[in-house]
């Protein structure tokens, strides 16, 4: 199979979207169990974006965001990144710690809590992917960074840049009561792994 990510057709995008959907559903369930409360999830958007459009994501290139990053190992290799804007991070911390958070400055405890939620969400996606594809997949411990969106996104963008001039972006919105959390998930298999992944999903 000679894969060209620049020409991923609509069927492939639909498959990836469905994968995002099921993964996010699993993640929402995991989050609900953790919070012991109902968590709603919105149908994720799956988009292929040009590098030049990356700037406009998540409130602009200079907007501070939280990025939680994992390595994927096993039958495929790659990375997965979960990105939250500061408003969503604040909402998430309020839900998790069950108290009003006065400002956006995150302390070590709150950063560690976010990291753990990222861990649960990413693992849910990966476990779902592993089941659907029958592949053996593992995630590393998370690495977290809070900085400009452009700088955080440069890491997955660089990884995509080996194979394409575009980036695959999955947007998911979780909400609990009236607090909503918009999470952006980037799944970045390396090029060979992308092919294995699609083959195992039966779309190549």
């Amino acid at each position: 199979m000679n894969l060209d990510i620049n020409n991923l057709n609509n069927i492939l995008l639909d498959v990836l979207k469905e994968l995002g959907n099921i993964g996010a559903g699993n993640a929402a369930t995991a989050l609900a169990q953790m919070l012991n409360n109902k968590v709603d999830m919105d149908v994720p958007q799956v988009r292929l974006l040009n590098f030049s459009e990356v700037d406009s994501l998540i409130g602009g290139a200079e907007n501070p965001v939280v990025g939680i990053y994992f390595c994927i190992n096993g039958d495929i290799v790659g990375n997965i990144m979960f990105i939250l804007d500061l408003e969503s991070s604040k909402n998430l911390i309020e839900i998790l710690l069950n108290k009003k958070k006065p400002d956006y400055d995150l302390n070590e405890f709150e950063i560690s809590a976010l990291s753990e939620v990222g861990n649960i969400l990413a693992s849910s996606y990966i476990n779902c992917l592993a089941k659907m594809t029958n592949l053996n997949l593992k995630t590393s411990i998370p690495s977290i960074s809070i900085d400009m969106a452009g700088a955080i996104l440069s890491v997955p963008a660089i990884q995509f840049s080996y194979v394409s001039d575009k980036i695959l972006f999955i947007e998911t919105e979780f909400s609990e009561n009236n607090k909503s959390i918009t999470g952006n998930l980037l799944l970045i298999p390396d090029i060979d792994s992308f092919e294995i992944l699609l083959e195992n999903l039966g779309v190549s």
């Binding site: 590393s140 400009m148 440069s154």
Partner: protein, 159 residues
């Protein structure tokens, strides 16, 4: 004032104005200035070498081909390599893992490749603000060749 935005894997030049790149992370911003003609050029590269991968049609994406293209562009509007100097910014490592993951060290490799290409072309590197684990917004002026660098945690400086 004429302000031109340079995106990821993009480059541009300006004669009277500034070139701006927002939220530079592991990528490297290569700013080249022709002191005599006051021409500023800025490339926002993502990877060290166009020779390592097949998908290399976008020259501005790589340190080696990006720097060459930028200089060609500056020379096409009257610039001269002899009068050019360079400044570098970016090349951060935004995430850390315990294992030796090459991709995470891409910032460092981008810096090394940029320096080696500038050296090969005989263009002197006069200042840099590179490395670390934080993002940068940079603004390069054609009037005096100054490179303004803004960060979230470390304020602003001009190199």
């Amino acid at each position: 004032m004429n302000s031109i935005k340079v995106g990821m894997a993009d480059l541009n030049i300006v004669k009277e104005g500034t070139l701006v790149t927002l939220g530079l992370g592991s990528c490297v911003g290569i700013a080249i200035y022709d002191k005599r003609k006051k021409i500023a050029g800025l490339a926002h590269i993502m990877l060290p070498s166009s020779k390592e991968i097949k998908n290399n049609s976008n020259k501005a994406k790589f340190a080696d081909s990006g720097i060459e293209l930028l200089i060609d562009k500056m020379e096409s509007v009257g610039g001269n390599k002899i009068n050019m100097v360079a400044k570098l910014a970016g090349g951060a490592q935004m995430f850390k893992f315990n294992n030796n993951n090459d991709i995470l060290k891409i910032g460092e490799r981008n810096i090394i490749a940029s320096k080696s290409k500038l050296k090969e072309l005989g263009i002197r590197l006069i200042s840099e603000d590179t490395g670390g684990n934080f993002g940068r917004t940079i603004e390069f002026s054609s009037y005096d060749g100054s490179l303004k660098i803004k960060t979230i945690g470390f304020g602003m400086k001009i190199i």
